[in-house]
């Protein structure tokens, strides 16, 4: 569905070249659900904008839905759906009108566009608000309208750029449900970008971790966690002496990475839930009293931290809008 070869994009910022995407080689098969995960400014959105023909690559090639993104723009455009970071519906428009005109943009007949719009309005639970002015809709309703617009022509391939940014937890859950449903019903290939770890974790079958414009990992979420981060066991004790003895014992029993801070012992290991009971029995035999025991499953943040030495959250929780905006301004100025 997607094949890129050395895809690269530079922006000129104050006469300096910023390499937003550096030589990306990517292959996505039909029916896959892929998440591009990375901190703000990693090059996720820029990649998506190249794949959706919004900006041309500086070098390299990309074939999307069987067509070249530079030479065959309209072929690519007619085959993909795109749900951007903003709201696709004009604020002075009515939702249903926007859906119909979106259908007309893709060459649907008036009748087809109208019936397809009604279908999506029903599927996305927008019946009550579809004939209201878009500016009066809530954030969640607008987002559902965006999804409906992205699906109007039943694309084989759907791109979503930060689909859940700015949504409350309930609407995020709703969105994830919609995407899952879309795949179950239509076998649509989906590529989304996110900087929400849990989103990549729970939705995607394949996570591509991007940093500084490069792919640094590409695997299933569970494999990534297995390879790049273990489970965490945290034990606490009443006395530092107990903690020290427990740490020694843990090293012998599990042979894993063990660290002790005061009365706390932290263990990084695979399969912690299975190992913990055995460890506790051993500690009890040693006469060490454990005050509390906790198992933490690895998160995508641990994966990212292990891969880059930085936390994914360091960039803050701000959406990437500002990042993209800066690039584009400078590009125009350049």
């Amino acid at each position: 569905m997607i094949r890129t070869n050395g895809l690269t994009r530079h922006f000129t910022v104050k006469k300096e070249t910023v390499e937003a995407v550096r030589g990306l080689d990517l292959e996505v098969q039909q029916g896959e659900l892929v998440a591009l995960l990375g901190p703000n400014g990693a090059g996720k959105s820029t990649t998506l904008r190249m794949l959706t023909t919004l900006i041309p690559p500086t070098s390299g090639t990309a074939e999307v839905a069987g067509h070249d993104v530079v030479r065959e723009q309209s072929e690519v455009r007619s085959r993909i759906g795109y749900i951007g970071q903003g709201n696709g519906a004009g604020h002075t428009q009515r939702g249903r009108d926007e859906l119909i005109s979106q259908g007309r943009c893709y060459g649907l007949s008036r009748k087809e566009a109208r019936s397809r719009a009604s279908e999506l309005i029903a599927a996305l639970d927008l019946e009550a608000v579809a004939d209201r002015t878009v500016s009066t809709l809530s954030g969640g309703q607008r987002r559902r309208l965006d999804i409906a617009m992205g699906l109007i022509h039943a694309p084989d391939l759907l791109f979503l750029d930060e689909p859940s940014t700015g949504l409350d937890p309930q609407n995020r859950a709703n969105l994830q449900e919609q995407i899952a449903k879309l795949r179950a019903e239509y076998a649509t290939t989906i590529v989304l970008t996110t900087h929400y770890l849990d989103e990549a974790d729970s939705m995607a079958e394949r996570v591509i971790v991007v940093d500084h414009g490069r792919v640094i990992a590409d695997d299933t979420p569970s494999r990534l966690k297995e390879v790049h981060a273990g489970d965490g066991i945290t034990l606490t004790f009443d006395h530092e002496d107990d903690a020290r003895r427990a740490a020694d014992r843990s090293r012998r029993v599990i042979g894993a990475e063990v660290s002790q801070f005061g009365t706390t012992v932290e263990i990084r290991v695979l399969g912690a839930p299975q190992l913990l009971p055995e460890l506790l029995v051993n500690l009890a035999a040693d006469g060490v009293t454990v005050t509390s025991a906790q198992v933490a499953r690895p998160t995508m943040d641990d994966v990212f931290l292990n891969l880059t030495g930085r936390s994914l959250r360091e960039g803050g929780t701000e959406p990437t809008d500002t990042e993209t905006t800066v690039h584009e301004n400078q590009e125009i100025a350049a």
Binding site: R77, S78, R94, A180, E185
Partner: protein
């Protein structure tokens, strides 16, 4: 909500739907119509919105117009007969120049980006928008004429219709230029408003819309001579007063066509580079 389990029927149905729906590219005319209708819809749903950009022309009509009776250079008869055509041009100019702000807003919300990813032709994105300007512009002209009829204003229908045609062509050009300015001002609202406000009044004054220029200093008359709006205003004055057969009318039509061509050229170029 329908069931999430996919049946073979649904699969076939989807494959068929997808094959039927997305593989036929509309013509330029269809693309333009799609954009035109989309732009027009909010105006039709809320016709009162066209009055918004008319406030200034109406203020000038009501509060400035009365000062012009017996003003030298405004002709023999009622001052309205001289002033109204200028106010109509002003209202076209304002609504055309203002319209880029709609695009500016859609550049920020993501609606424009969404349309850029569809197979719509870039040229249609601009032409459709620019053509839509004709509708509010005709509505505004009708309002201005209707407001003036009870007063000392004589309507010459044939000439007025021709004037509206010329003004429609001019408005397409002004609208297209305003869209080009909006595209250049992406993420910098202030740039759009600064340029727009800076240009609007000089063009307005130099076209002799508010006061006649004929008795002004030479340098000012020279500036007026190179302002295409001057010719449109002159032609409109003749046409609104029923004088159709005149070289000035032809010059006005030429100036309007020049503005439309310039606007579309610059506008389409900007739209093609838009991302």
């Amino acid at each position: 909500m329908s069931a999430t389990v996919m049946t073979p029927d649904a699969e076939n149905d989807q494959a068929r739907k997808s094959a039927q729906m997305s593989r036929r590219r509309p013509s330029l005319l269809q693309d333009t119509t799609t954009v035109f209708m989309r732009e027009l819809r909010p105006v039709l749903h809320n016709p009162f919105s066209v009055v918004f950009s008319m406030i200034q022309p109406l203020v000038f009509l009501g509060l400035f117009g009365p000062l012009l009776s017996d003003f030298p250079g405004t002709g023999e008869g009622s001052a309205l007969q001289w002033f109204v055509p200028g106010i109509v041009v002003m209202s076209c100019l304002f609504s055309g120049a203002f319209t880029g702000s709609n695009l500016l807003f859609e550049l920020q919300t993501g609606a424009h980006e969404r349309m850029l990813v569809t197979p719509l032709r870039r040229s249609a994105l601009l032409i459709g928008r620019a053509l839509k300007e004709i509708v509010p512009m005709v509505m505004q002209t009708v309002i201005i004429v209707a407001v003036c009829l009870p007063f000392d204003f004589e309507l010459h229908l044939a000439g007025t219709v021709i004037a509206v045609l010329i003004l429609a062509v001019m408005t397409i050009g002004i609208g297209a230029l305003s869209y080009a300015l909006a595209l250049a001002s992406k993420d910098q609202d202030w740039l759009f408003w600064t340029v727009q406000q800076t240009l609007l009044f000089p063009f307005l004054l130099l076209a002799g819309i508010l006061l006649p220029i004929d008795d002004g200093p030479g340098w000012l008359r020279t500036l007026a001579d190179i302002n295409p709006l001057t010719y449109v205003v002159d032609a409109s004055r003749l046409l609104f007063n029923g004088e159709i057969a005149s070289t000035a009318v032809l010059q006005g039509a030429g100036a309007a066509a020049f503005l439309a061509a310039l606007g579309l050229l610059v506008g389409i170029r900007s739209m093609r580079r838009s991302n």
